[in-house]
Amino acid sequence: MSDIALAPRRACTTEARPLRAALIALAFAGLGLLVFAPLALVFGHALSDGWAASVAALRQPDALSAIRLTLLITALTIPLNAGFGIAAAWFVTRFEFRGKALLITLIDLPFSVSPVVAGLCIVLLFGANSAMGGWLVAHDMTVVFALPGILLATVFVTFPFVARELIPVMIEQGRAEEEAALTLGAGGWRVFRTVTLPNIRWALIYGVLLCTARAMGEFGAVAVVSGKIRGQTATMPITIEMLYNEYLSTAAFSMAALLTVFALLTLLVKTLLEIRHSDQLAAMRRH
């Protein structure tokens, strides 16, 4: 310990001690009430009849089907939206064209439109009563009340996450590094792989993680397009609602706890990546 550290600190940015304590207490109280209490409650309720009862509830065929469906939808949504997000961000930040502002607004549309409305639009567009839906049904391709509809709804609702994370990063980094690679003889794909992608890597990971969390938890849009067929089109959030409405509280909260665990896992992945690559992150930020 140096002498300097022991000297009383009287920086102009420091508040009086009681005020500091009060603010910190307030922050923790808010965090506790809004984050930790619900988390504890979910796990508490899930395990209220014991570990075995929870596990048994999750091993029901309908429950297993819901878990599989949610994981499948998430696994399909991630690459689709990573691809769409990169393409959209690339297009918006690397080219000047008319209607660019409109396009950026459109990318944000899923954030402003209620998911239920989005679900209804998909039903109207692809449902058996519409022209396109009729044609699809006639050719044995059902979209609504089936996996493609759920996937469409999930992809729509989670579309902005990756693009929104990437656009500011790509604007900030500009074109210079990519142009430098081009003048050094690299082709378009090589530039993307060796310069663009490494530079947007972290934003992409954050976007994908947000997208993952939302894809697993999406309720409104999926509730409309899925038809809530137990064991077939009911995802985890929908199963939770159905179980809860049937007063099967242990089963509902067990499923909710599992969904929470999935969400916490994505956070854990993010944290581990940050710890593992902390030196790289620091190097990039200093530049």
């Binding site: 210079a176 430098a180 690679a181 003048t183 050094l184 003889g185 690299a186 790289q280 190097a283 530049h287």
Partner: protein
């Protein structure tokens, strides 16, 4: 390599970046494109490098038409204004990038690339920084690394956009000399953009004064000093 700019014009939307300009650059010259911002000097440099394409006119390299030659095929060593070093690569990886990017058959072997990187690091007199990242370098070191990276591809010409813009006065003087030495050693036709008349006059064999997308005057620094061709040139070089 001599460069022949023949009636190049470029517009961005409704703004005219270059009214038709023509210019002959003899092989091995060290040329300054001098002018205030918005004079079209950077646009002209980017057209030479293949990063922009002209609306009208032709660019000839050693007499053959290079107007539509892709940026990759031009083999122009380009040094960007803020150097544009790849921030996620080490200095050595930065310098080796152009060699690694070559098609497999023309790509040197790993030891050859390593040797070339080492030679270039010695040439810029920073032999020990190969393992560092750009964020760990000073401004002057970054500029020299950017120069080494551009030279690694055996360029046919060297194009530099405000190469000394972001440096303090002392480093700027040093690196001016450095560029002069590299130019004289390699004999590369070199074009650099600057808004600093002092720098243009001190360094270049041939100064091209530009304003509002037009070339005002071309000549040796002393000629331009002795006989400015217009009021604009007289005022601009007097600053």
């Amino acid at each position: 390599m001599n460069i022949d700019i023949d009636g190049i014009a470029k517009e961005f939307g409704t703004t005219t970046a270059l009214s038709p300009v023509s210019l002959q650059i003899p092989s091995g010259a060290l040329v300054a494109l001098l002018g205030p911002s918005g004079s079209g000097k950077t646009t002209l440099l980017r057209i030479l490098g293949g990063l922009e394409f002209p609306d009208r006119g032709r660019v000839l390299f050693d007499g053959s038409d290079a107007t539509h030659l892709s940026v990759q095929d031009r083999r122009a060593g380009f040094v960007f204004q803020s150097y544009a070093l790849f921030r996620h690569m080490t200095v050595a990886q930065n310098i080796a990038y152009g060699l690694q990017a070559r098609p497999r058959r023309q790509r040197p072997s790993a030891p050859q690339i390593e040797a070339r990187v080492s030679d270039l690091l010695h040439m810029i007199r920073l032999p020990d920084i190969g393992g560092r990242y750009p964020s760990q370098l000073s401004g002057g070191q970054r500029q020299r690394v950017a120069l080494a990276r551009a030279l690694a591809i055996d360029p046919r010409m060297l194009l530099l956009d405000e190469p000394f813009g972001a440096l303090d006065a002392k480093v700027r003087k040093e690196l001016r000399q450095n560029l002069r030495t590299i130019h004289d050693d390699t004999g590369l036709t070199t074009v650099f953009v600057t808004h600093d008349q002092d720098e243009a006059m001190a360094l270049a064999d041939m100064v091209v004064v530009m304003s509002m997308g037009r070339i005002e005057q071309v000549g040796h620094p002393q000629e331009i000093r002795a006989a400015p061709s217009s009021d604009f040139v007289r005022e601009f070089i007097a600053v």
